[in-house]
Symmetry: none
Subunit: 229 residues, 2 copies
DNA sequence: ATCAAATGGTCTATAATTGGTCTAGAAAAG
DNA sequence: CTTTTCTAGACCAATTATAGACCATTTGAT
């Protein structure tokens, strides 16, 4: 949705981008933003547009702009213990997924409904159309694992997986993960996703869990291979 | 309504997809949706269809559309970090622990150090002095499981377990849990804790994981027994 | 202290974008 | 068949964006 490469950015879009930079911490308290003329250039928008975005952010209390000087960040993002999660390494994340997802498969067998399976089926189809589009595949993959945990009807588990997805969406990671996604790897993942879905459909908890373990092992290998290069 | 594959999307489907984007967080408050013409293109539907979906979402209060400007997100999805965790039921929590803790045992075998084991040993001793003090036992028990996950040296897992511990510390739960803790039950738990610690010490990952499963099964039984009374 | 550069503030005429509305026909559902 | 829904286009009105200019203040170097 937001992927749209050369989509023209409006004031609202630019405001949203900067707002996120601030909440994420890439722009910290008292930092000065680039000059309006530079921003307008780098966002590919006219200065007036950037200016409108900044005016909005000022009203919202994110920034303060001083004439002749610049625009400064004035906002302490609520520290939601995010720090603990932000520093997670890819390997830590893999271990957490190893703990959670196989058992989530078992629970999905117990509590999953037809509509859940249909949605997962649709996501499998979508992923199979993405052999050459790592970015789109990655999004669909995240959705698939989210749909899987939704089968469990366990709000706590869903929340945990969402938190993990947040970590995975960090920019650096996303870029690195896309590097590991060649055509071959995506094809392997697709096969495994199908197998997992089928095992859940036929109500075979242990088989589903085992394929998930395989799936995660594959992912871990891709990861270590990528960090070697 | 057939959901499968790349079928044509109806207004209801598109509304559902966008609704999902919003609750998932990919579309946040104040974000502007892509123009109707772009949406219609990317969903492969006519503009009128997209428009119908948006009208629906507006009635539902997810979105607000301003003529000449765009369609904007007006909905703060319930901040899960509070609500999802606060509303977790004891059984949901048990399932989450079933997913996490056995694998945490395996990881503890890999990464645990002598000092970790000493600390857990000490906690075992403390718990064994608590046969008649459910409150003190409960505290030590929480510490034990926290010490266990610390063995993994995995900040993400530690954070997750801490979150779960927060849930467990809710007043109602604590009271209920204390009811299940008679002398016999505590003794059983103590035995299991010892066994888990020993299995980790002797570097037997699967044995440790299995005893943890037993342990959790025992806890689950106590729980269901308690809710029957 | 002075000057030059950089930066935000303001304005304007024009062009582009966007939602709102309508229509006629095709497709799907009952 | 009838009814509903979707499609594909067109046009309108409101809003927004563009590109450039000029000003006032701040900043930093000389």
């Amino acid at each position: 949705m937001n992927v749209s490469a050369d989509q023209k950015l409006g004031a609202a879009d630019i405001a949203a981008l900067i707002r996120r930079e601030i909440s994420k911490g890439s722009l910290q308290l008292h930092d000065r933003l680039p000059p309006e003329r530079v921003l307008s250039d780098s966002y590919g928008a006219a200065r007036g547009t950037v200016r409108k975005a900044l005016t909005r952010l000022e009203k919202e209390g994110f920034v303060e702009t001083r004439p002749g000087s610049g625009t400064y960040v004035v906002h302490q993002p609520d520290d939601n213990s995010a720090s603990a999660i932000e520093h997670a390494t890819p390997l830590e994340l893999m271990d957490a997924r190893f703990a959670l997802e196989p058992h989530i498969c078992r629970l999905s067998v117990l509590h999953g409904r037809q509509s859940d399976f249909d949605r997962m089926e649709e996501l499998c189809n979508r992923m199979e159309d993405c052999l050459d589009d790592p970015v789109a595949f990655s999004d669909a993959d995240t959705d698939f694992h989210r749909a899987l945990v939704e089968c469990t009807r366990n709000g706590l588990l869903i929340w945990i997986i969402d938190q993990i997805a947040t970590v995975r969406s960090e920019d650096d990671w996303t870029r690195m993960r896309h590097l590991t996604l060649d055509r071959r790897t995506i094809a392997t993942y697709n096969t495994q996703h199908r197998q997992i879905l089928n095992a859940i459909r036929t109500r075979e908890p242990e088989r589903a869990a085992n394929i998930m373990k395989e799936h995660l092992e594959t992912a871990r290998l891709s990861l270590t291979r990528a960090s070697d290069t």
